[in-house]
Symmetry: C2
Subunit: 450 residues, 2 copies
Amino acid sequence: MRLSRYFVPTIKENPSEAAIVSHRFMLRAGMIRQSVSGIYTWLPLGLRVLTKIENIIREEQELAGASEVRMSTIQTADLWKESGRYEDYGDEMLRINDRHGRELLYGPTNEEVITDLFRKEVKSWKQLPTLLYQIQLKFRDEIRPRFGLMRGREFTMKDAYSFDIDEENSVKSYYRMFVSYLRIFNKMGIRAIPMKADTGPIGGNLSHEFLLLAETGESEVYCHKDFLEMDIPDNVDYDGDLSKYFQEWTSKYAATDEMYVEEDAKKFGDDIIKTRGIEVGHVFNFGTKYSEPLHAVVMNKEGKEIPVHMGSYGIGVSRCVAGIIEASHDDKGIIWPVAVAPFEMVVLDVKPKDEESSKVANDIYKNLKNHKLDVAIDDRNDRVGSKFADMDLIGIPLLLVVGPRGLLDGHVKLVSRKSGNSINLSVEEVQERIIKAKSEDSLQKFVDSI
Amino acid sequence: MRLSRYFVPTIKENPSEAAIVSHRFMLRAGMIRQSVSGIYTWLPLGLRVLTKIENIIREEQELAGASEVRMSTIQTADLWKESGRYEDYGDEMLRINDRHGRELLYGPTNEEVITDLFRKEVKSWKQLPTLLYQIQLKFRDEIRPRFGLMRGREFTMKDAYSFDIDEENSVKSYYRMFVSYLRIFNKMGIRAIPMKADTGPIGGNLSHEFLLLAETGESEVYCHKDFLEMDIPDNVDYDGDLSKYFQEWTSKYAATDEMYVEEDAKKFGDDIIKTRGIEVGHVFNFGTKYSEPLHAVVMNKEGKEIPVHMGSYGIGVSRCVAGIIEASHDDKGIIWPVAVAPFEMVVLDVKPKDEESSKVANDIYKNLKNHKLDVAIDDRNDRVGSKFADMDLIGIPLLLVVGPRGLLDGHVKLVSRKSGNSINLSVEEVQERIIKAKSEDSLQKFVDSI
C-alpha cells in the first residue's frame, strides 16, 4: 500500500470530544470518524485492524468446532415477546415499524433469533452438539454514548451459541469456548483474564467475563499475579478433556470489584494485585432459559422431547480495537501488537524526491511485499519529522527508514515502535532478517529484540 | 470440514414459498433461512459462498486502487434532508426514531454519508483522486419482498465512491471501476455484460448496468453474441489508459428492453441475440449532483473552491449468490463455478462404518486439506444415495467417491458435477492430479476436463 494514495487523515491536535486515550488516538490516527452520536465510520486504517481481529476470531472459533452463520441485524419483535424480553429490554432496544406497521427491532443480541432457527431445524439428539457463531453488527441505544468505540451504539460483536442435550454436555461446550477465548485474546497480542461473572440480568449458572488489563480500564480488578504469565493452551484437542485448562485458569483468584470478596482473595495473600480492566468477552451457560419459553426441544435417546441446553459467548470485536489501544500506547500514540497492527511494517521513504534513495525504498517495499509481509510504503511528500510523528501516532510496530544520508554510509535504519530503539543494517541484511522472521512467524519476537 | 458436524439442514421437497429456482435451491441446500419477510439468516454453507464473493470483490477493488472503509448501517436523516432526498425516497426507506426522538434511518445507499465524510476530511486537489469502497448491509423496505435474495429487504452490497477534481478525471475513475467489474464477475465464474443504463432517478451522465445472462432472468436483454466470448482485461495497468477496454466493451450492442432501440441494434444484424438477464452491478458517474447541495468542495490548482466530481459503483453481493444459481443449475440442484463454491470438492466416504475404506477417505481428505484444497468430507451416516443427492443439490464441483467396492478394484471415483461424467483413478493418482491442478490454479479447467 502506498500511503500517498491511501486515505489516512491524521490529526495533530487532540480532539476535544475524546475523553479517553483510545478514542483520542483512533480519531487522530485516522482510524474512525463519528457520523452521528455513538455511530462511527471505519476508515481504511481502522478497518484493517478490525478485520485482522475478526479473522483471528474466525480461525480460532472454527478450530473449536463452531460454524459461522450470519443473522440479520433487523429482527421481528414477535420472537422477543415470546421469550418475554421485549418489554424488559427497555429503551436500549432500537424499535422500528416497517411500512406495513409491523414491529421490528435492530438486534441488541441474538438469543431469540438463533433459538428460533434451531427449533425449526434440529429435532433429534443425534444432531447435537450444535455450535454456531457470527460476527455481526449490533445496536444498543445507549442514553449517553461516549468513549468512542468503548460505548458506542452501533458496534461489531462476535456472538456464539451452543446447543446440547444436557447440562453435562453443555458444560463441555462452555469449556470449548473458554479455551478458545484464551487463545483468541492471546493471538491478538493481549492478555485477557477470565473472571467469575454475575449471572444477573441474562440469568444462568456458569459465567465468566474476560478482562483485558489496562491502567485506564473501566473496572477495578483484583487478580492473582500468576495470571499475567500463565501459559495459554497450545495444541488443544477440542474433542479431548478441556476441564484441566478450565481448572487451571479458574483456580486462582480474579474478580472485578463488583464480585470481589475479600476473604476469598486473602487466601492468596500478597499474590493478588489490584489494577484496572476492560471487559472484552463474556461467556454464559444459561441452561434452558430460552429453550423453554421458545419451546426449542429435541428428542432424546429415550424418545422424549426435552428442552435443549444452551450457552452464549460474546466478544466485543470493535471494543477490542479500543481496548488494545488502552492497554498499549504511550504519549506519542498507539503501540500495536504485530498480529493486529494495520500494517506489520512501513518502509519510510525519507525523501521521495531523491530518485536514488527512493528507488531503494521502493525496491525493498516490493521485495518484502512479495515475501508476504503486510507492508506499506510512506511515500508522501511531507516533512520527514511529520512522517515519523504519523508513524508513531498510528503505531506501526516496525519502521524501516530509507534515506540518502544513511545509504551513503551503506545502511538503512530499523526502528521498533515499542522500545524506540533502532539498529542500522545493510540493505541486504535488513531484508534477509525481516523475511526470515516473517517466514518463521516470529515477527513479534524480532520486533521485541530491537 | 466434517459434514457430520456441520450445520447443513438440506430439504428434500420443494418449499412452497419459493417461486424461483435460486430461492428454492438455497432453501433446499441449507444455505439460507428466512427469519422475517424479506430478511434472511445465512447458514454456514451459504455464508461460505457469500464470503468468497466478498473476497473476490475486495481483491479486485484494491487492485483498482480503491480503499476499503465501513460506514454504519444507521444514518442520520439530517444528511438526507440536506441532499434533498429524504422525502423523495418514499416508503422504501426504513425510518427510525431513537430514544431521544432523533430521526435516523437504515441506509438504503450511502452517497450522503460518504460525501459528508469527504467534505470534512479532504480540502485540496492534492488529495485527489479518492476512491473508497465498502461491503455493508443495506435495507430497502420493499412493499412485497420476494424471490429470496433477489428482492430481499436486508441485503449485502458493495458500494464504491469516487471523488475527482473534474469531469475528465472522474471519467478515468469510472473506467477503473468498469474494468474492475469485468474482472470481478469473470473471477466469480460468470459472464456479466455492461449495458447502457438509464440515468433516471439517481441522475448523472454516464451509467452502465452489468447483467448476468440467465434464461430465468428478470429482464429481457438484447446483446451482441461477441460479448459471450470477448476476452476479459488481463494484466491491467490501472494507472495507464483504460479507455481501450471501455471502448471494446461498449462498441457493440447490448441493452435491456427498457433501453432497447431497434434501429441501433439492427446495424449488427443477426449478431444480436435476445435473452434474459439479472442486474448484478451498476456504475454511475453523476458529476456534482451530491457535492453541490452538500457543499463538498476542494481547492483547485488555481486556489478556487470547486465542487468535487463524483461517481458511485454498486454490486449486489447477496444478489450475486442467487444470480449465479439462476445462471448455473439443473434439475438436481446448483452447479457452482469452482471459485465461489462452498467447497471446491468433497470426499464422499461411502460407508463411514467400514473402517478400512473410511480410513482411506479420511487420509485423502487430510492430505488434500494440507495441500490447501478447500475440501470437506461427507462422513455422515446416511444412505449413500441420499448423500449423492445432497452433493448434487448443494452443487459441489468435484466429488471424490471413496468406497469399499472401488478400493477392492484399486480405485476411487472422481465425479464432475457439471458434466456428470466420472473417471476411476488410483488413490495415488487422483491426489496427484488434484494437487497439481490446485497448485497451478487450474481447478476449474480440471473439472471441465472430466
